[in-house]
Chain length 333, copies 2
DNA sequence: AGAAATAATTGGAACGTTCCAACACGCGAG
DNA sequence: CTCGCGTGTTGGAACGTTCCAATTATTTCT
């Protein structure tokens, strides 16, 4: 249970600690014989380098820390995978912490990462305010994913929510809809631009009088609340653009219980293209974000900042794509 | 960008490094005046303790490391939350790594944690063989979640899959089914006991001749493959017990496309009670595992082993509960 | 063969903390 | 006035690595 050290290995192999260190980092200036001896000794003792000690002397951990706001949203899995892959490619490792959407726990999670001296920090759709991100960025390169920020010390990666919203409105208008409502994402990351994108696009189509944004949220409850509000109104909208898939699915359920057919009576669109939305039973029309790429970009940005310390902020905006499925169709008036 | 150390704080506050250390760990034997001076100095410098250095000298990191096999399955979110909460309660922190179901990456992820000198290791439904778990448990207390293991050095937390399967069969038999088939989980954690639980239970009901287990998997593809096999057979089963919800949902879709009504033509049952299965549109009958508790238990086990090193293995088995929804009903023969 | 160059190996210092034994100070008791 | 005691405070050693300059062993060249 007690971890062997480099000195134990050195003794067993009959060489100096320095040589063991050299072998561990596989330097090319050790003789084949010594290398073999060291490797054997290490294996027989079950030696594992101590990252804490290494971090101390190198003043670098070669770890990027990732804070994930919400593991429940399947949206993040691919994103994290993208981060992980890019990190490994660049010779880094990634570790995650989560705050389960609670502010204090998120703060604690960031502290944990910072105290461990991660070389870079990636905040994935944090509930944390951007002040906290800026604060963190003073001690380590930081990038925020899913939220744009104007801070000059923090990079960001996000999809173009305004464009995504426009794609949705264009699609619905093309089908012949005019009374297109929006259930927003509340305070969550990306909610604002999706709403303004919707409103702007409606105006562009000359539908400023049909604009109807109601309060929702990025959760099932949010979708629920939003659709209840809308169903109470007359005339009813013929199409609804919901802030994300999770909420959109809740909307579909309510419509179902209320006996409204989709898309004949109402068309519904989500956002995120989660695996669920692709399900044949749901067939939700939605907007796809390049999740994996977003993760990869985030890791690359943070690592670039670590490796050659850049001092201007980088804000990457990726383009979303509309995915048309069965929940949208022409209105029947 | 350069991290201030305890010495910087000491100098600024006009005291010794030892005193700063005392304040940081808030000892009660420092005068109010010194405490204030130190705290102010620390705040103004933006000092953060260096966990690597602390870990070195204390020979303890107060961190438990968690390997998550698959972030895509929403099942794990609550589990991880349970771990995190319990860890914090006990004065520890938790960090995650993931291997995205790939063996080599899982191994790397475990190495990362071990090198960081986590005090305990939790493997959540790992793809890794139990050899790897045993290997890890030689250097640090280890618990496996979602899989039972017979290794004496590794603790485990799992639900009683056999019982869960029995509940399903009992329910279906009570509804009047006899031709009950099973699509298994392939090589995944928990697959075996669910299958044997099903078979045993069928025998208990005198239905040994109706036993039909086909190969599947814990994924959508698995469910797909399984149901295709079953649909080709005659007479068709009137009820199908699928290894988990993810696969069960895929099964529902295929049945839908094939024009078979659920539950009139076929009843379907899943396992896990993921949020998706509760959805009104799906209404999947399934088996609930106490996810949050399982996470909490796992953390408590590992921390108990750290704090007073126990040397007998602990295997916790929690009871699952049947959740009846709309995908099961009496057979119509 | 001897010098020079190259290859392989080495010990000590440093990284930022905690722990421990020792010290300084003031105060009440003898 | 000295002793002992409790309360705050202190410096040095230690943790397990990497880095560097120094040392030794080996090869190459003339």
């Amino acid at each position: 249970m007690k971890h062997p050290t480099i000195l134990d290995v050195a003794e067993k192999a009959g060489v100096s600690k320095s040589l063991v260190s050299l072998v561990m980092r596989d330097s090319d200036r050790v003789s084949a014989a010594s290398r073999k001896a060291v490797l054997e000794a290490a294996a027989s003792l079950g030696y594992r380098p101590n990252a804490a000690a290494r971090t101390m002397v190198r003043q670098r951990s070669y770890v990027v820390g990732v804070l994930v706001s919400n593991l429940h949203n399947p949206f993040f899995a691919d994103l994290i995978d993208g981060i992980d892959v890019a990190a490994i490619d660049a010779g880094y490792r990634s570790i995650l912490t989560t705050g389960n959407r609670e502010l204090e726990r998120e703060r604690l999670a960031v502290s944990t990462l910072l105290e461990m001296r991660v070389d870079g920090l990636i905040l994935v759709s944090p509930a944390l305010q951007s002040d906290d991100a800026i604060e963190a960025s003073r001690s380590v390169p930081t990038v925020v994913v899913g939220k744009t920020t104007r801070a000059p010390t923090v990079d960001s990666v996000a999809n173009d929510d305004r464009l995504g919203a426009a794609l949705v409105v264009d699609h619905l208008v093309e089908l012949g809809h005019r009374r297109i409502a929006h259930i927003d994402g509340g305070i969550g990351a990306g909610s604002r631009p999706r709403r303004t994108g919707y409103e702007r696009s409606m105006r562009r189509h000359g539908l400023e009088n049909e604009i109807q944004s109601v309060k929702g949220g990025f959760t099932e409850e949010g979708g629920n609340a939003g659709i209840r509000t809308l169903l109470a109104r007359r005339p009813r909208p013929t199409a609804i653009f919901v802030a994300n898939d999770l909420a959109a699915i809740a909307v579909l359920e309510v419509l179902d219980t209320e006996g409204l057919r989709v898309p004949q009576d109402v068309s519904v669109v989500g956002y995120d293209n989660t695996a669920m939305s692709a399900s044949h039973r749901l067939g939700l029309t939605t907007v796809d974000q390049p999740r994996h790429d977003m993760g990869r970009m985030a890791a690359e940005l943070v690592i670039a900042r670590i490796d050659h310390d850049r001092h201007t902020a980088n804000h990457v905006v990726l383009s979303p794509k509309l995915v048309v499925r069965e929940t949208t169709g022409p209105p029947i008036d």
